[in-house]
Every structure is written in C-alpha cells, then in structure tokens.
C-alpha cells in the first residue's frame, strides 16, 4: 500500500471514530436524565409514600449543596390514576417555596409564598385529559380558577422549602411544612 493510501485509510477511520463519538456524546447527554440510576427521584424514594409530603429520614446523607437554613419536604406525585392536589397555607411573613419537577428532573413550575392568593397556595396536578374533563364539567356551573398543571411525566416531585430565619425558628418551620397537603384529589 502506498503511503498516500495508508494515510487516506487512517483519515477515513479517524473521521469515522469522531462521527461515532459525536453521536454517542449527544445521545449520552440527552439520555442521562432518563437513565441516571441514582438521581434525586430515586434517592428520595425511601422518604415516604406516593402522593404525600414526606420529610427526610433522620439518618441519611444530605444532598450536595444543601442549605442548612432550609427545611424541606418532598411529595412524590403520580397523576396516572387521577389528579393530585397540593395546597399550603402561608402567613405572608415566612419564606416558603415549591418546585414542581418531572421524573426526569425537568422543572415545570415553581412558586413562592408571595404567589399565594388570600393566604393559600393550591395547585392541581393532572393529566391533560383530566384537566379537560374538569373544565368541561365546570363550563356549566362557572367553575373556580386555580392553578392547574400537567406534568411532562405522570410521576415527579414537588419539593417544598421553608426558610429557617434563626435556629430558634426551626421547629416552627418544620410545623409550617407539616401543614402542607399533597394528596389524590377526591373531586
């Protein structure tokens, strides 16, 4: 084989390897949220049941970059068998926030106590068809306006955080979180 042909063959294979590497890179990055075995959802699965807020177990490693000034509870929701309602009463003084994220970690809504209406945060999580049938039923009797969200995946997390202003406020912050509700909607 001449020197030129050998170089050509090498270039061909090198280019081929780069193309394969590029495709693997893109697929790998895009697939990571779906494949990561120890993502937040998996790690939180021992906190509590489905469709209820649960506090972290007393023992167990803290997630990285945890702010010790936050108390946190998490609801693993599942809307595949019907809507799930999340509600919280707020006092307008203490910071309370909620992140709504899908099974793959995509945040699809977030709010703080400043978004509360008349001292209350309520959100209904439901599949698109459940929301449609709700709205059809309501079209007849006027209906009430509330925050309605369709998660990108049927399961996911609602993460609620309460700020502990000072160490003496920790028990009160925990109590504020205990009052939160995440439950299958009874209609």
């Amino acid at each position: 084989m001449s020197e030129g042909r050998r170089l050509g063959a090498f270039a061909f294979h090198a280019l081929g390897a780069l193309c394969v590497a590029g495709v693997v890179h893109i697929v790998g990055v895009l697939a990571m949220p779906h494949l990561a075995p120890r993502d937040a959802y998996a790690q939180l699965s021992n906190w509590g049941g489905v469709n209820e807020f649960a506090a972290p177990p007393a023992t167990g490693a803290e997630p990285r970059f945890t702010d010790p000034a936050l108390e946190i509870v998490v609801c693993r929701f599942d809307v595949s068998r019907g809507p799930v309602r999340v509600s919280a009463g707020v006092d307008g003084e203490h910071y309370l926030s909620m992140t709504f994220q899908s099974r793959t970690g995509q945040i699809f809504h977030a709010l703080t106590d400043r978004d509360a209406l008349r001292g209350k945060i309520t959100a209904l999580l439901a599949r698109a068809e459940d929301i449609e049938s709700l709205e059809e039923a309501e079209a007849e009797d006027g209906g009430q306006k509330e925050l309605r969200l369709t998660p990108p995946t049927p399961t996911g997390l609602v993460i609620a955080r309460a700020l502990v202003d000072a160490p003496s406020d920790r028990a009160a912050a925990k109590a504020r979180l205990r009052a939160l509700l995440c439950s299958a909607d009874k209609g």
Binding site: M32, R38, R161
Partner: protein
C-alpha cells in the same frame, strides 16, 4: 475480514471517546451560561424551566435538587476575590451590603459541597439573624479560630466552599443584573 475488524475498532474507539466526552462534560455545575460576579458563580440555567441538556444531565447524575429561578438564586465560590483558592489555613472576611432580596443565607461547605466538619456547630448565617451595621452592611469572619461578631468556622485544614443563596430576589438571572447586585466581597486576611 481485516476491513471488518478495522471498522469494528473504529466503532469501539468512537463509542469510547463519546462516553468519555459525556463523562467530562457533565461536571457537577455543568450548564451553559454560568454567570460570575466577583468570586461568585451561579448557573441559573440549572433551575430554569428550559434548562439546557448539559444542566439537566448534570442535575440527574449528581441527584441535585436545584432551586428554580422563581424561588431564588444560588451562588458558589471556591475562591476569594483575588482568585486564590479558599484555604483553611487563612482567615477571610466576607463584607456585604444590603441586597435586593427578601432573605439570604451564607453557608460554609466542604470542598465537595457536603457538610464541613468544623469546631463550631454553626454552618451558616441568614440575613435575619446576622449582626448588621447601622447602614445595613454586614461582615462575616471565616476562620478556624473563633472571632467576635459574625463568625463562620472554617474546617481545620484543606479547601472549602462558600455558598450564597438569595431567596425571593428581584435580581434577574442575567449577567448584567447579577454584576450590579453588589454581592459580598471575599478578602483574605492572615495565613498561618
């Protein structure tokens, strides 16, 4: 046969390179558009509803629960304002002024973002509990040895990180707004 083996080798090398590049690019704070101000860096995209694929992959891999930009902003630093790594052998002063936020916290973390083991049980300060100057400014001493005033204990040795969180902030998640936000300055004092 030789051709087949060559193609197979090409494919294997390609897959290997691809996986290695995924591993390298999904760093703990991956995500496009990290924004820096002084020593502080934030990756607001990690908490954005339209987070980029690298940020989402990193969040999944490291099991993070990022706060959304609607809830607040989260800044991290491993360096002082002069760009030198935070080192437990040195004392640091964190000097700040009031920021456009409802509440903030400063937390000391170990070099890998976990709980730092220090002489003191205090790991953080919140804006509500800290001792303020008359003009609303504040100063936190970060040192291994106890200090009067606001003192955050550094670990006995090694590197550490500082995290600044702004909750319910009106500071926008863009570089202009963050540069103008007046985040606390970190200066190094004496070293042993």
């Amino acid at each position: 046969m030789a051709t087949f083996l060559k193609l197979l080798a090409t494919a294997v090398i390609g897959v290997g390179l691809g996986l290695a590049s995924v591993y390298v690019s999904i760093s703990p704070d991956a995500g496009f558009a990290a924004v820096a101000s002084g020593a502080w860096t934030t990756s607001p995209r990690r908490g954005a509803m339209d987070a980029d694929p690298y940020a989402r992959a990193s969040v999944a891999r490291y099991a993070d629960l990022p706060i959304a930009t609607a809830e607040g902003l989260s800044f991290l630093t491993r360096r002082d304002d002069a760009g030198e790594a935070l080192d437990a052998r040195c004392d640091y002063r964190l000097v700040g002024k009031p920021m456009a936020t409802r509440a903030w916290t400063v937390t000391l973390l170990s070099a890998d973002g976990g709980v730092a083991h220090t002489e003191d049980t205090r790991r953080n300060f919140t804006s509500r509990e800290i001792l303020h100057a008359e003009d609303g400014g504040f100063e936190i001493a970060v040192a291994t040895q106890a200090r009067p005033g606001n003192w955050l204990a550094a670990p006995r040795s090694g590197a550490f990180e500082l995290m600044l969180r702004l909750y319910d902030t009106s500071i926008g998640a863009n570089s202009g707004a963050i540069a103008a936000a007046g985040l606390p300055k970190i200066t190094k004092g004496q070293c042993r």
